[in-house]
Amino acid sequence: MTITNIAVCGIGGQGVMTATEILAEAALSLGFDVKKTEVAGMSQRGGVVTSHLRFGPQVLSPQIMPGEADLLVGFEAAEALRWAHMLKPGGVALVNQGRFVPPVVTIGLYDYPEDPIAEMRRLGLAVFDFDASALAMQLGNIRLGNTVMLGAMSDRLPFPADVLRKAVLDRFGTRKPELLELNREAFELGRAAVAQPAPAQAIA
């Protein structure tokens, strides 16, 4: 029984849960058993959000255990580092370079890591990083960042990218038809952003 485990992390308001929901719909459309769980108690207030998606022939526990995620999707750089231990050996991290600095850092109580993505590489992880917001802004709409993230995931799934793209367009396109084409482009931009090999440096 093979289960695919995808951990998505970020902060409240970034669209972590919506993205995972769309991934779930793609997996459901193929007939997989799917469970999705999140801990986002007070996430609306800028807290940490993690969403776990598990799919396969039959899924029991909805939770991914540390060291068992096939894919880690970080909507925010420091959050990706926070959850790096979720990845299994050989797992892949897709990380948005965008940073959200919380008030506890602003007021000087804590430091934001100098380079969270480099730290993940030092841990020996295969990391693909890109600036989702900048890519979204290429299309003139920061809110397309979510679709960029989904595009980046699309070639790392155990099903064709088309399945996820259809789920994305079904979700966003039906609500605002004028955004259909923009979402299609954002999806492809995300996809292209992680097409090159991961510049990972495994430590011996």
């Binding site: 093979t2 396969g56 919380p102 155990p158």
Partner: protein, 647 residues
């Protein structure tokens, strides 16, 4: 996404060709039939509708809030946000008395509030099926405590269901109505965060219609005076024995066979999934209808395994009952007492029980990295920011807090909230501090901070107690026209009902006056105007009698809030004083820090800032303490005509 969407949209399976080189090697299952993809909360809501329920009531509370939100979208039944959980349960009971099927939902601490009603309605019993869904926040993601609400079922001698996923949430909520009617008592469906907020596939059953039979006057049953209650208490115990017998046959109490008989698991709720995931070969007795316990079946199960381990969240309730019945078992002696019993916590515990080494696979391959904490914060432009900025400027205050977004005032940078106990507790606690204080606190002013919805939930009685007993308390009533923390639901202060329709709106100033606060001690003001807020607060704490300061700006997350022109910082003008940082707005960021040595030799830490203009909605709070006028409207470029606060 907007909640409720999933309920109206069937996920239709449309198999597409899958490429051969699956990067993760996942195998495709056979095509499944059309099903829904629902959270536990959504599944319960659908079950309540499908059961022909006529009345459903709740007060919002994480993780149960979405149940009533979903139900309110169905036109088939009456739904309401009640002012508190006790009222919601009484509303449900009234509906049940006239023969209607009735439902209410609450978070764990809500059932404590409703317990007074519960403990007598178990004596009267019910007519129309009455189901209570109670959601425990196991792991405490957004609650003040972790409690095991299953005890309420035992305390009240009521049937208890514990779903393990969304499908079971649906099935058990349906069955709970049937059991409630068969035994003429309320039935409790106990959920946890890991049920409420986990989505899975759900196949619903046939809808049923249910007409209320009508109220039958019967004082012996419905008027609980001692003479009527005595015979009914005896009946309640008889009913419990009948429930115990039925639990033996319940389709939700099932034995899952397994070949590895070294340990037999007894488990319920989400822990069942974790056990099956972690020990697929072990025999498991899965409790779905877990009170009263099917003791004889459990005794037989125990006889067939080497050791029995009870895996339950969170208290050793089943474990204690098994031991009392003479069935040997392990439980909380090897498992954690606090939090979820996820696979990574089960593996080492079970290994220890078997006397084995802790398996290596239980250890994460990477240790978690140290990253700054990211506690929840107030939103950009939140009207509470100005309140806590002001409270933090004042000295010699003791601030009795309450439950809502404004509890975050206890955090940085304000550190301006000293207590948080339970809904409405800010009032009584403040009065007790006032009456109990000795010389150590004589010069401190006692402040109570409470939100609009919490005030109406359970705070009004506390204010009445303050006025009646001549307390010296200054109350800050933060009216942001929403139940903010749970997602902006309506309450009697918003002028809207659960459907967003126009409704009676409470007048807080009049209400406080009616509760005994002198008219001249009641002030309604704008929390974005810091000088007024500061002056009013400073004046009122000097007056040795109850005062109420009502602030009236809406929550920034509801439609009532209208963003205005955003601000930016002129970098050259910023002197690094960091006054604006003390407001605590998440849109303000430090660009660089410097240590400056004053002519006196004193070192001063400077922090130069920028405003994330794309996040700013123009509340102007940070502008007021900025002496060098470095904060200006981003577009068009001109200084802002705000009076600077002399604080």
């Amino acid at each position: 996404m907007e909640p409720g969407r999933a309920l109206t949209k069937l996920v239709r399976f449309d198999p597409e060709p899958v490429r051969e080189d699956l990067p993760m090697g996942a195998a495709l299952p056979e095509t499944a039939p059309s099903r829904l993809f629902l959270s536990g909360n959504e599944a319960v809501a659908l079950a309540v509708r499908d059961a022909g329920c006529r009345v459903a009531a709740a007060y919002p509370g994480t993780p149960a809030t979405e149940i009533l939100e979903e139900l309110s979208r169905f036109p088939d039944l009456y739904t309401e946000w009640s002012v508190n959980e006790k009222v919601s349960l009484e509303v449900a009971l009234g509906a049940s008395m006239v023969g209607a099927r009735a439902f209410c939902a609450m978070k764990h601490v809500g059932l404590n509030v409703a317990a007074d009603a519960l403990m007598t309605m178990t004596v009267t019993g019910t007519e129309g099926g009455l189901v209570i869904a109670v959601a425990d926040d196991v792991g405490m993601s957004s609650s003040q405590n972790e409690q095991d609400s299953r005890f309420w079922a035992r305390f009240a001698h009521l049937p208890l269901f514990e779903p393990a996923d969304a499908q079971e949430s649906y099935d058990m909520a349906r069955e709970a109505f049937a059991v409630s009617e068969r035994f003429r008592c309320p039935a409790i469906v106990r959920m946890t965060t890991r049920i409420c907020h986990v989505k899975g596939r759900v196949v619903p059953a046939e809808r049923e219609a249910h007409e209320p039979a009508g109220f039958v006057k019967d004082p012996q049953r419905w008027v609980m005076v001692p003479g009527h209650a005595k015979p009914r208490v005896a009946l309640m115990y008889e009913r419990e024995e009948a429930l115990r017998a039925s639990a033996q046959q319940s389709p939700f109490n099932v034995l899952v066979e397994g070949g590895d008989r070294r340990i037999g698991f007894v488990t319920s709720g989400p822990a069942y999934m974790h056990v099956r995931e972690t020990f697929p070969d072990a025999p498991v007795f899965k409790l779905g209808q877990s009170y009263p316990l099917p003791l004889e079946r459990l005794r037989a199960f125990a006889a067939g395994v080497d050791q029995l381990l009870v895996v339950e969240e969170t208290e050793p309730l089943v474990e204690s009952e098994l031991r009392a019945a003479g069935i040997a078992c392990a439980g909380k002696d090897v498992l954690p007492r606090v939090g979820e019993l996820s696979p990574d916590r089960l593996r080492p515990a079970v290994a220890r029980l078997r006397g084995e080494e802790v398996p290596a696979s239980a250890q994460p391959r990477l240790v978690p990295q140290q990253v700054f904490p990211r506690p929840p914060t107030m939103c950009v432009a939140c009207p509470h920011l100005g309140i806590y900025y002001t409270l933090a400027q004042l000295r010699n205050l003791t601030i009795s807090g309450d439950i809502g977004c404004y509890t975050l005032g206890a955090g940085h940078p304000w550190n301006a909230l000293d207590t948080c106990i339970s809904m409405g507790a800010s009032m009584g606690v403040a009065l007790g501090m006032d009456k109990g204080r000795g010389p150590a606190d004589a010069k401190k002013a006692v402040i109570a901070v409470i939100g609009d919805s919490t005030f109406m939930h359970m705070g009004m009685q506390g204010l009445l107690d303050i006025t009646w007993n001549r307390g010296n308390v200054t109350v800050l009533l933060l009216d942001n026209r929403a139940v903010g923390m749970t997602g902006g639901q309506d309450n009697p202060g918003t002028g809207r009902d659960i459907h967003g329709e126009s409704a009676q709106r409470v007048d807080f100033a009049k209400l406080c006056e009616a509760l005994g606060v002198k008219k001249e001690r009641i002030h309604t003001l704008d929390p974005y105007e810091l000088p007024t807020l500061f002056k009013t607060l400073r004046d009122e704490i000097k007056v040795p009698e109850p005062s109420v300061i009502i602030t009236d700006r809406p929550c920034v997350l509801i439609d009532d809030y209208k963003p205005t022109q955003p601000y930016k910082v002129i970098a050259d003008k910023c002197t690094g004083c960091a006054n604006c940082i003390d407001v605590g707005c998440p849109a303000i960021h430090v660009t660089r820090r410097e240590t400056q040595v004053k002519p006196s030799g004193k070192e001063v830490e400077l922090a130069f800032v920028r405003i994330e203009t794309s996040a700013c909605t123009g509340c102007g709070l940070c502008v007021q303490p900025c002496a060098p006028e470095a904060i200006v409207h981003a577009l068009p470029e001109h200084p802002v005509k705000f009076l600077h606060a002399k604080i």
